[in-house]
Symmetry: C2
Subunit: 107 residues, 2 copies
Amino acid sequence: MPTVADDVFKALADPTRRALFERLARDGEQTVHALTDHAGVSQPTVSKHLGILKIANLVRDRPEGRETYYSAQPQALAPLIDWMSLYADFWRERFDRLESLLKKMDQ
Amino acid sequence: MPTVADDVFKALADPTRRALFERLARDGEQTVHALTDHAGVSQPTVSKHLGILKIANLVRDRPEGRETYYSAQPQALAPLIDWMSLYADFWRERFDRLESLLKKMDQ
DNA sequence: ACAATCCATAGCCGAATGGCTATGGATTCA
DNA sequence: TGAATCCATAGCCATTCGGCTATGGATTGT
């Protein structure tokens, strides 16, 4: 059953990609070069990971001259929220807050 | 950055494993044999996947005679919620800022 | 104009992944 | 007791994955 959530789950399954996403979410839009400086892997590897994150809509790119600025798109986490909502009986409070935030941001 | 969330993300990255978890969460505790009947893969493959889910604490096994009953442990999703909540906070900040800005502009 | 920088793509490689069959121990049934 | 069932493990194989270097187009700086 390949779903929409599949790309997102797979994209976030790798620690390097999660770190890239985390950094973009925390520190805001930045270039591939800036990301590479802190990623601990080569620039082509960073580019490849960003490509996978982009397919999952977790990041967005904004080319500007010879540079490309990437930024996080946390709304792309929504499919995960949807999927987990089926099993979320336990942490109901935390979850409700998160979900309503996402819906607000989606508008 | 290998975190606690890593096992959970990796475990859920595979569609077959997600389907197993979904079925256990939806229909409750059941044997490997019952799971195999609906998984579309062989029994050893199901067992292997269950092993990975178990390492991530997403399922629990209860041997009984020659059978083994598995059940879902949705609490194991908590690390994912926690991870995502980091970005919920991030969103709320920005959202709150935007909201207050809009109010100011409205005056 | 030339040199340097940024980044994406291509191509390679070893390790991990997800599937299978074969097997065998443990249990249950006839 | 003997046959059948349940399930985990082992071992195999093809594919995917995550890293690298090499390269080259585009842009920017000198």
